[in-house]
Symmetry: C2
Subunit: 421 residues, 2 copies
């Protein structure tokens, strides 16, 4: 089923032929014959197809984008050029933070196929680990590292304004994916839309209350504008706990197909907001053998450590490169130690507030919008699930509306614990 | 002196040959022979060459960008591609607001030449009219119209996000001109730079105080980030009173070579800030025949009317197009009249604060930065000039630092009058 542009949708069978035609891929498997190569489609994701390719002498993953959204079907078309931006972002973020981004081996634009490192077991999707109640002692360390490096080095604190504008222009091309976020994160949850769903009837009034919360909607308007207008850094664009694969000592960020130059707070908020969702889901996973109390504390500690480490690392990258080509804030202007520090503090305070706002918006959309999270979905008892979701929703509404009053991440933790101890 | 890329710098003589080779231009002069055609270079500007071409049967202006900044010389190279962006912006803004933008007849990218309507006498540069003390009763009406239309129709309030990102990407190419603004508006005035100058020795302490004002510099950092990162609308980028030609009943905006997708407040602030500069310069132009008191009142009225009319027009465009393709704020979300109105009020309040910040930054750079304004420069008595400039500088510092406390343009007028009645 080849279309005019050289594109054809792969399946487990045709993947073999495809690999044979791509020397970089055959080489990964040891070259030559592909006997004994095992191919398995594992895309649990919403949008794309992912094939694990295992040979006796090597392995990789092939990810292909089709010209529609997988979980919806051909009725929701979506450019397959998203694979181009995913490959671009994987390569750029991988260059900046190779420890936490899988290596790209191959990219084929006309086929929208990316070949990348297979994150072998025991790597699992972080969200699944959070549902299972597994602690990842290095998660905060690794994710703060990933976010500090990818965001700092693609911002005007490091880029010259000329290279920044060139990169911004390139990623403007990923507009269909941005548009999808605009709709499902910033619009649909706040209006009647047949895409929305929630744990009904329990949350009927809660969903309605979101749609009727004028103060909330005014704040969401500002966040949406910032998402659309502000080219602060090359963000991942979909940095929830389903885009992270982990073991006890490895943390790997996958799936940056929504990448573009946007507000840094959108990535930080996505990660922290999804940890908060995981926290609120824990009571639904508690059972006699495990009350999840200690695990909830670990999640809260991870939230605190992630932000604190992020701040520290971000500021030390900034200090290290203060005489570099970054033209935003010149050391010749901010020329006294106290002034330099207050400049950085203001930057990070604003970023913290952005992260809280975007994080909260991402939480809300997971409860009353189109795409839900397994953290809650896997709670079988609907009434129990609804009560966890309601707490998360109330927390998010408060964070979003009052975010400018928060000065420390500790205050965020207090609000979370106040709502659900 | 032709370079490899088909570019050659014109002069009054070679312009004739150039016109002969361009049918669109010959046609404007009535076609055929060019005998009796008069050519005069009038570029008073900082950057480019402008030739007025007058024939018995028609006229136009030719503007050419050379690959450097005219007033500095070849030692400050500057891409001649700026003419491409100027032509693009003239055409786009001209389409949106034909009454206040000269028609483009011709554009030659390899020569960086724009042919456009000659704004015939009695059109003069607004700044010169302000220095001469001439009232323009329609100025507020016209400029509010120009700004409301050009900014609204190129923002996400009207654009779909897809067309917005495409347009943003195109104008990212004008990065050298943006970079110039970043340096001369947001950086140099706040540090020691050999480009800076001021009325010395009178303002030596004032210039130093600007460089030592930490609160001011922290605020300027935020404005600079917004200038670099926020693609809110296609702004003119250099909308001072030297980029506007006027008669008593015509207002024409020229010279958008700095155009790009940036914050709307930068344009509004440039215009209002330059009117405030004109106000503070008036005492330096007062003489026995004319104390300029009435004229100062007219300037203040024009500031008030411009902002008030701008708000009104902008909101009515927004209301008119609320069911259009603009995806930023959907009427299905902001679905109650009070909510819609408070959304708009918040948008305009933020815009007002942005305009005050950028306007003030543009005032400051005209007093202690590289490029000064004729309003002050034409005050021969240096001590008198310095005292006008000091008042303007103090006003700007206050507007910039306290801008978020202003709720009405009337409060701005009070500050101006308090500083210099
Ligand atoms: N490099 C990889 N190594 C191992 N498994 C992967 C890799 N990339 C993706 N996967 C698996 O495929 C799933 C879907 O991948 P993802 O990139 O998130 O696709 P989608 O864009 O459709 O969400 C992931 O949840 C993960 O289980
Ligand atoms: N369309 C026009 N009609 C009449 N005069 C013009 C026109 N365009 C420019 N000029 C004159 O040329 C001068 C310089 O033009 P401008 O576009 O501002 O160039 P620069 O980019 O060098 O500042 C203006 O101040 C004005 O006097
Ligand atoms: Mg995914
Ligand atoms: Mg997914
Ligand atoms: Mg994905
Ligand atoms: Mg000019
Ligand atoms: Mg100019």
């Amino acid at each position: 089923m080849e279309s005019g542009d050289g594109f054809r949708a792969l399946d487990e069978k045709s993947v073999v032929e495809y690999i044979k035609s791509a020397p970089a891929l055959t080489a990964r498997l040891g070259g030559g014959q592909l006997d004994g190569v095992e191919i398995r489609e594992v895309g649990d994701g919403n949008l794309n197809f992912v094939y694990i390719v295992l040979g006796p002498a090597g392995s990789f993953v092939l990810k292909q984008a089709l010209p529609y959204i997988r979980c919806v079907g051909e009725s929701w078309p979506m450019t397959k050029e998203r694979a181009y931006f995913e490959a671009l972002a994987l390569k750029e973020h991988g260059r900046l933070c190779p420890d936490h981004v899988p290596e790209v081996y191959h990219f084929d634009r006309s086929m929208s196929v990316i070949g990348m490192r297979y994150l072998e077991p025991p790597h699992i999707i972080l969200r699944k680990g959070l549902i299972a109640g597994i602690e990842y002692p290095l998660l905060a360390e690794h994710m703060s590292e990933y976010m500090a490096k990818t965001l700092f080095f693609t911002s005007l604190l490091y880029h010259s304004t000329a290279e920044h504008r060139r990169a911004v222009a390139e990623f403007c091309g990923n507009l269909e994916l941005c548009r999808l976020t605009e709709q499902v994160v910033f619009s649909d949850p706040y209006r009647v839309s047949h895409f929305n769903r929630w744990t009904s009837p329990y949350l009927d009034r809660d969903a309605e209350a979101v749609r009727e919360d004028d103060a909330l909607k005014i704040e969401v308007a500002g966040l949406k504008s910032m998402f659309c207008e502000r080219a602060q850094a090359l963000i991942h664009g979909d940095l929830h706990t389903g885009s992270i694969m982990v073991t006890s000592d490895s943390t790997q960020v996958i799936d940056p197909e929504f990448a573009f130059y946007g507000p840094m707070g959108f990535d930080i908020g996505a990660f922290l907001g999804n940890l908060i969702l995981a926290y609120f889901s824990q009571d639904g996973h508690a059972n006699e053998g495990n009350d999840r109390k200690a695990y909830k504390q670990w999640i809260l500690r991870t939230i605190v450590e992630t932000w604190d480490l992020f701040q520290k690392k971000f500021i030390s990258l900034w200090d290290e490169h203060k005489d570099g080509k970054g033209e935003a804030y010149l050391i010749s202007i901010y020329n006294k130690p106290e002034l330099w520090i207050s400049l950085q503090q203001k930057y990070l305070k604003d970023l913290f507030h952005d992260a809280l706002g975007f994080g909260a918006a991402k939480m809300i959309r997971r409860i009353v919008g189109i795409a839900h999270v397994e953290d809650f979905e896997s709670i079988a008892d609907a009434s129990k699930r609804a009560s966890c979701e309601r707490n998360a929703l109330n927390c998010a509404k408060r964070l979003l509306k009052e975010r400018r009053q928060f000065e420390t991440v500790g205050q965020v933790i207090s609000v979370i614990q106040e709502i659900q101890p």
